[in-house]
Amino acid sequence: MWTVAEGRSHHALNPNSWEGHFAELRPPVDNQLRGSSSWKNLLTKRDVAFPDGWMGITHPADSSELPMSSLNEVDDINSLDQGFHERTPLS
């Protein structure tokens, strides 16, 4: 499928910008956007809001004093949003 898509990116009917997009480094998928409107995310530019580290930004604050518990867990993972990939039902 990937090779087919690459081939079609050169199609004469495609805008040149589509062909160029194929050679761009793709940022990590924001899984929080699952289920939201891609048109709305496009218009509000929410779909190009990337994590700071991806943009080369380092937070100067020292986070070592933030309280983080290692003992929390999700009670029922089936209650969670599905995420980017479809979840296999647990028996």
Partner: protein, 314 residues
């Protein structure tokens, strides 16, 4: 600074890296037994990450074991099995033990392995993992949270010159170099003319000058091994003429060795190739013989002095 990085930046001599066999049981002695035959001849050794979607002792554990035993590990990190949190944790954690060479790759799909029922992750892909790992080396996680001190990482990637569409592979190498890859280990190949085209493209677009490209060869001793790679390994084509040459040879193991030697010599003769990566499926001393026949000497001291032999872009 890692030896791999020193050589990649100086290009004093060809770099030699090797694939470390997968380990499924035993202890450090098991690792040592596999390491000893190749250790004197390599600059770096790949600690693989569930290769071909088969579970084995982890990349982190093998990388630390190799480091403990005096080798310089190149820790592969694939995107199939772990999300961005786990991948970053593995890289930062391994760096605590001096594992600083990272090879980021997308990895095979789970259907390539023996547990195709497993859930695939692919939270990142190979090029984005290169950028994430490079960010860790710059001192921050994907979130932007600082890492102090930043691990001194040397990040690389893989590329498949022989897989379709071949013209796009040069561009993909450029994407990975832009993301921060400073070495590229290429997929095993039996099409020298395709390799030449790929390397020429990487010289022309400047990738070969800023990223050490290592061509890969594979030590085999049967015709069946070549047929398997041709039929079952994505991105590898073994032309019929080569398969015929091996299958009809009077001494198949020797002819297989001579084929690998020819491919390695050819790869090292291409301007823009910085070294070779060797996968040894023979385990019969051919690794040492190959290094000797190629006239390579990894015992030569390395210094970070830049040489003038690095290829430049056209």
């Amino acid at each position: 600074m890692s030896r791999l990085r020193t050589l990649a930046e100086s290009r004093q001599r060809p770099i030699i890296t090797a694939e470390f066999p997968s380990i499924d049981g035993g202890n450090l002695d098991t690792v040592k037994a596999k390491l000893d035959p190749i250790l004197p001849y390599v600059d770096g050794i790949n600690a693989t990450d569930n290769p071909a979607a088969h579970a084995h002792a982890s990349n982190v554990s093998i990388a630390i074991a190799l480091k403990t035993l005096g080798a310089e590990p190149i820790m592969q990190v694939v995107c199939r099995d772990k999300n961005r949190l786990a991948a970053q944790a593995d890289i930062v954690g391994a760096a605590l033990f001096g594992v600083t060479n990272i090879c980021a790759l997308t990895g095979d799909d789970v259907t390539a392995g023996d547990e195709p029922q497993a859930r695939r992750v692919f939270d990142l892909d190979g090029p984005s993992l290169v950028k994430v790992a490079s960010g860790l080396g710059e001192g921050h996680y994907v979130s932007g949270r600082a890492i102090k001190p930043a691990p001194d990482l040397f990040v690389g990637a893989v590329e498949t010159p022989f897989g379709p569409p071949q013209h796009y592979r040069i561009e993909r190498a450029r994407i990975k170099a832009d993301a921060g890859a400073r070495f590229l280990q290429l997929q095993i190949g039996y099409q020298p003319e395709v390799l030449e085209t790929f390397i020429a493209g990487c010289v022309a677009n400047g990738v070969a000058a800023r990223t050490a490209i290592l061509a890969s060869v594979c030590l085999t001793k049967t015709a069946r091994a070549l047929n398997f790679m041709n039929d079952s390994v994505a991105g590898i084509t073994v032309p019929p003429a080569i398969r015929d040459r091996i299958s009809k040879a009077s001494d198949i193991p020797e002819e297989s060795y001579q084929l690998t030697l020819e491919l390695a010599r050819h790869a090292l003769s291409i301007p823009g190739v910085a070294g070779i990566h060797i996968a040894d499926f023979r385990h019969d001393g051919s690794f040492a013989r190959l290094i000797e026949d190629l006239g390579l000497d990894t015992s030569a001291p390395t210094s970070p002095t830049p040489a003038s032999t690095a290829p430049t872009s056209a």
